[in-house]
Amino acid sequence: MTRNKYPDIIFIGQPNCGKSTLFNAIAGLKAETSNFPGTTVKHTHSRVNILGHILNIIDLPGLYSLAPGDEAEKVALSHLFYEKPDLIINVVDASSLGRNLELTLELIEMELPLVVALNMMDLAEKKGITIDVARLEKELGVPVVPTVAPHGRGLKELLERAVETLFHQVRPQPLTWSKDVEEAVNQLEKAIPLDFPVVANRRFTAIKMIEMGSQYFYQVLAEINLPLKKRLDEVKKYLEETHNVPAYEVVAAERHHLALKIFEKCAQVARSTKRPLLHRVDDLIMHPYLGYIVLILVFVGFFFIVFSIGSPLEEIILGPFERLRVLLFQRLGHGFWVYLIDGLLQGIGGGLGIVLPYFVPLLFMMALLEDIGYLARVGFLMDIFMHHLGLHGKSISPFILGFGCNVPAIVSTRILESRRDKIITTLLIPFIPCSARTTIILALVAFYLGPFWALGFYVFHLILIALLGRLLSVFFKEPSPGLILEIPDLKIPSLKNIARKTFFQLRSFINFAWPILIAGSIFLGILQSVGADGVINKILSPLVVKGLGLPQELGVTLIFGFLRKELSLIMMIQALGIDYQQLLTVITPAQIVIFTLFVSLFIPCVSTVAMIWKEVGRRIALISVALNLSVAIILSLAARIIFELIGGI
């Protein structure tokens, strides 16, 4: 990346410290926020004007330490190490200061200009933690500014101190460790030759060498500088023998003890004897039995709320569009332009009447559950079931994102440590009914057949995922490394946060999907006016008519379904040439189920395929397509046979 002339400021912090919220408060609406560790897996750039200076601010994925564990952390580190920021803003969760300080201490070791944003001060106060900020500033030797990001508290001071530190390039002094460890590091530092590629500074490089776990690194080092490798071995051996633990642990323990010491000096914790209300709520929703009842209630409630908001709206909005269409054909006949305008009306009406009534409440409810902190708890509750899929609870995070959209879900598999978990999760994600498919299920199945059918459909998808997971884990024999998932505190939801998040995701539908939908509808209109849709339908008819027993006209909608799942649904009505109230006169309920089943499963949408290709390679992407296609065909055929045997619905 070429460096521009504006200073780079990096936001760095442990997962779930409110970093993205703080970043957004400064940059405007750029980064997605959540109460779920590991949500930011990509970095976000933004150019802002702060106190008259133009600055380049960068939000990095959260990381616990400067030794990468998973891929998301590696991304963050390469940014920090190779693009040398001009200032680091270290966002610290004041409510778990002791642990967060470990990263701060490590950042100080880099000796780059640093400002600490002591975020979530309100939460810390609620927990009974009082922090002596002036003392903390003195102990760390860097500016510390208390902030509450969602309220904008402390932002102004943070920016002032940041700009001041940036332009004076004030560099912090690393804090000293125990004498013997310090001495060992010092010895290794001296052995590093002057022309050695140093990261940040010589001392930091020496520490990182000791901490490094990769065998590959040691071999390379032995090749390029044998004396240094020998000295490194000596130092490590010394540390290991004197402390009786692996060398990297000696270093980690130094930081840990230092962090705890500073925490004890600067913070007072008043533990109340009464359990706070939120903790008692937590006892219930994490209860080994009751927790699952709550989970089912939340899931069913979620579904019914979205449906009961969406379905009346669907009717109210689609009605006028239908009347307009009827009027159009009555007045203007069936010419090319009429089909074109019809396509346009279908595209706009479909987005407005079919997608938005379900999509907006769906996004809102998802954001609400996430903001409260419930989703991480679902990870805990579901871990045991995920084990049956050969995975563990951490994979629940990509899965849950998958209910929103499969694309970010695939990206977020980066938080998984093992490639095995990553591949299985990636192959399963396309079977999760994303919001586009939920829309189809609600607007088609629930609207025409009743909400219980839709719920059943949903549950069916989940069972299917479970079965496929089992099947896949047969091919990947090595065991999953197991769950370690941080559970953030429950919190009162912030309406502002939720509204922001809903808007953020909605915007991508409006900017990206809706135009495709409108273009697709117009294109279908054109195809119909020249009769080309018939050709496509004929080609696909062996599958659509012979195989699935559906009207031939639906063939063309499958092509669009590959672009976006909801297109198939909306275009179904257009392709059949009817209005939405007449649907059940040309197609049976059984056919609706078969069609929905097939569309929902037959292939991941084009963006999902592209993302799988990018994240895990072409082979897996092709396997994913093949897997989806075969599952869709087998299940739809099976559904058809069952419906024929029992004589329809």
């Binding site: 980690a252 045991i384 197991g482 370690i484």
Partner: protein, 86 residues
């Protein structure tokens, strides 16, 4: 008395103060536990257990964070009970 007996976290009693004595496991596992604020010598409390063979919920007293840990991993974390007099 029981202070000198080490046992895996999975079989520890809930709601009692425990101290991590040893983590049996490779670099990756130890590092992840360190990152989340669980070091050798740290005080922890077993908060809750999941269903049947589900994960357990552990709170670190020093950093006041809660982490869900799978059973397999909980078997590798050796702890001792800290007696109340301390």
């Amino acid at each position: 008395m029981s202070r000198y007996r080490y046992f895996p976290l999975i079989s520890a009693p809930p709601e009692r103060k425990l101290r991590i004595v040893e983590v049996l496991g490779g670099h990756g596992l130890r590092k992840r536990l360190f990152d989340l604020g669980f070091h050798k010598g740290d005080e922890i409390i077993l908060d809750a257990r999941g269903l049947l063979r589900g994960p357990i919920l552990v709170r670190s007293v020093s950093s006041d964070t809660v982490v869900a840990i799978g059973r397999g991993i909980a078997q590798k974390i050796m702890v001792e009970i800290i007696s109340d007099e301390e």
